[in-house]
């Protein structure tokens, strides 16, 4: 049986970590990020698509992602690819450490 999908609160709380993880080592455009999240987690992560783009723009605005235009998309205009910046890589490492410590602590409580 597939696990229950994460609640919106849980997903929102870890959205940055998820997006930075997906983009680690491979620039992707918005639609492909959603597909990647689904395929790499067996459908566990199913974003509300409308929340993806503000999040990507926020991370870009914060300097954690850079963006560049690639091949023409379905509307004939270049697709916008997002990639981790060095600051994004550092943020990802920090968020992973923070998340690891949190899940270990929950595990020690016997909850996992």
């Amino acid at each position: 049986m597939n696990p229950q999908p994460p609640t919106p609160d849980l997903l929102r709380g870890h959205l940055d970590l998820i997006l930075l993880s997906i983009l680690e080592g491979q620039p992707l455009y918005g639609f492909a990020i959603i597909q990647e999240a689904k395929s790499r987690t067996g459908g566990y992560f199913e974003f509300r698509e409308g929340s993806l783009y503000p999040a990507l723009h926020r991370l870009e605005h914060a300097g954690l992602l850079s963006a560049d235009y690639g091949e023409a998309g379905r509307n004939g205009k270049p697709r916008k690819y997002y990639a981790l910046t060095p600051a994004g890589e550092a943020a990802l490492a920090a968020k992973r450490k923070e998340f690891g410590a949190f899940t270990q602590a929950v595990g020690r409580l016997g909850g996992v």
Partner: protein, 391 residues
Amino acid sequence: MSAPAYAAQQVAPALERYLKRATFGLNAERRQAIWDELEEHILTRQDGYCLLGHDPDMALRLAISELGPALKLSAGMNWVHNMPKMILAFSLTALLGALTAVALSSAPPLVEVISQRPIVPECSRLSQPLKYDPTITIISHHGNLYCYTYNQPVQYRGTFVNIDNLATTISGQGISVSSQIIKNGKKKWILTSNNRAKTSLIYSDFMRDGKSYIDLYNLVDGLTALGQITVTGYLEPTIQVGDVRFRVPKTPAHAAAAPLWNEEMYDLVVKLFRKSNGRVAGSSRALYRPDGMPVHTIQVGGQPDPIYGLIYYDAQEVLIYDFNAVAENGSVEFFSSRQKIEIVTDPKKVTPYFKNGRAQALLIRLSGRIDKATGAEYSIIQPSQLTSDAK
């Protein structure tokens, strides 16, 4: 990084309307870049639905619904890009999402409407702590995740139709209506015209007290799939599609049809002037009267009721429009930031520059007919009064 420039290309009206709303309030360059990004997403998603066997129109609607409410997307984008200017961006965004209360009853029946959407906190994660902003109230925050509401009720104002009530009324007029629960508990209504074998899909924008509501503009947009729409009246408009007719009751704060015409005017100005998105803006007449803005009174004659629009450039070279119904005395009032205007009949003569000390403006008349493919039907008017000095 800046977005590349592209040649304009045709997009489906439903897609264009969604993108227009989803990118509202952003500056022109950013708006175009985000427009293109979202458009590419929706078209790719549409292809996927087509492969699953949906027809292109249905596939497009499903693809758009996957992105969620345009206003919410717009709010997220404005929060990221326009935080210092949120009040302007959101008053205009909310203006675009206007709704009232409709109640179908006799001939034509009134439908049940409300004129204020629920004040629901928006949540956004910021890259740095939020400074004091008098336009919003912070409801909660955890780290840099802020949930807030807007302080001005006008930002939640509009014309919103009770869909269940509407469906019941329309069902009695030769249209079959069914509803389905889609994912996340959201509901959609399928309206099928018995005689024309045409189908329309509408989706609720929000729920209040267990009832589903859709804004009037989105409703009319959905109904155009069933045939040409005719809207008569301004304060209490009657909407007709095929044999189906219903009336939208008066609302206390604004003309019930104003939010609808605000959207249609926007589409028309974009089409007429071939302007890129973000270089067109409406006045705030649709929802409230701005204080201190000059008013032009132009005699157009004829019966009260038809809607007229005035289009001109402001000092920032943005195309501005206002619209209003004709008064009993045959005149129509427009707000304009330009004190002196000259009315021209060729859109090419409307420029950002003064001629003989006057700004050029285009006067148009809306017939009330709205077509799915071509939008609102209009004609360019040359009144006997060719100039106007605002009071």
